[in-house]
């Protein structure tokens, strides 16, 4: 069972979100290739203890909201010669997401 999160979740399926473009040191769950990119929330996955803190022996609480976000491949890679309809889905914790700016991508 998922532990309770401290705050209500901010996003719903279909929301357009942008992954923070930051480079904090340490164990982070955001692959470099997806930082700063925008996609659509595919589903809400639940709240989980923050793995970025679990990695250092903390309890990771309060739990963080986790979302699956669907990105278009063409939005991710600087050089992309595949079809526009191909996607990449990955999980992003809420504290790494913000509502997408309309002009972001």
């Amino acid at each position: 069972m998922s532990p309770a999160a401290a705050s209500p979740r901010r996003f719903e399926s279909g929301d357009r979100v942008t992954v923070a473009y930051t480079h904090p040191p340490g164990h982070r769950r955001i692959p470099y290739y997806i930082r700063g990119k925008s996609g659509l929330v595919e589903r809400y996955c639940g709240a989980f203890p923050n793995p970025e803190e679990l990695a250092y022996g903390f309890d990771g609480l309060p739990a963080r909201h986790l979302y699956r976000v669907r990105f278009q491949q063409i939005d991710i890679w600087p050089v992309y010669d595949g079809k526009a309809h191909n996607t990449l889905d990955l999980e992003v914790y809420e504290h790494r997401l913000s509502p997408a700016k309309e002009d972001a991508s």
Binding site: K83, N86, L88
Partner: protein
């Protein structure tokens, strides 16, 4: 089992333990700092009687006993039972529990369905997250830097190297298993399997089909309809 074989057997289990406790699992050096530390801690815990060598052995045996037959069983049921398939896609964890498959850990599972227009493939770019509870231990290539770095940006090229060629019209959906979800691909049931038993279907669905680097194929010498 003779003494030598018994020793080798025990040793291979120890190595399996070291792999999973060490984040550098993709580049194994058994004399590196973390593997040595893990082994030292294991020995101390056993010496102090906190855990038993038998308990460690049993756990490793259970971990090694998991295999893609479990995943194949789930897929075969979804192929023959549309209502189960719906439940599986909506909430895989609950649907899998229906089949009496024991929950080995608290990990969440998401099942993604291949269709005529969508092909799914799974990777973990950050490490080597893998649905071990339904597929067993991951293959070496799944953990390799080459697969992890290439399949996210050139999935078609990587699939082609696995002998899987997809039409341009098919959407390739890469799932980077980078946090708390684990992914199982539900392949399409291949033509020519009409009337097959659920068990025969389950054995057609191999590990690689459920990671998404290939698709189930009916062998040239198809088994007789049971």
């Amino acid at each position: 089992m003779n003494d030598k074989a018994a020793h080798q057997h025990a040793e291979s289990h120890t190595h399996a333990l070291l792999r999973w406790s060490d984040d550098s699992a993709h580049d194994i050096d058994e004399t590196a700092r973390y593997p040595l530390m893990t082994e030292a801690i294991r020995q101390i815990l056993v010496e102090k009687g906190i855990i038993s060598a038998e308990a460690v052995r049993r756990l490793l045996e259970q971990m090694d006993a998991r295999s893609d037959v479990t995943g194949g069983t789930i897929v075969a049921r979804a192929w023959v039972d549309p209502a189960f398939k719906e439940r599986l896609l909506a909430n895989a964890k609950e649907a899998i529990a229906e089949l009496g498959i024991p929950e080995v850990d608290a990990t969440q599972v998401i099942v993604v369905e291949n269709t005529e227009t969508v092909h799914n493939v799974v990777v973990c770019t950050l490490c080597s997250c893998y649905p071990r509870m339904v597929l067993g231990m991951p293959p070496e290539w799944y953990k390799s830097k080459a697969y992890r770095s290439r399949v996210v940006r050139a999935p078609r090229a990587v699939l082609k190297e696995f002998g899987t060629e997809l039409a341009d019209t098919v959407t390739v959906r890469v799932h980077d298993s980078n946090a708390d979800m684990r992914y199982l691909v539900l392949p399409m049931r291949p033509p020519g399997t009409e009337g097959w038993s659920e068990d025969a279907l389950a054995h057609l669905v191999t590990r690689d089909c459920m990671v998404g680097v290939t698709v189930p194929r009916v062998p040239a010498q198809a088994p007789a309809v049971e």
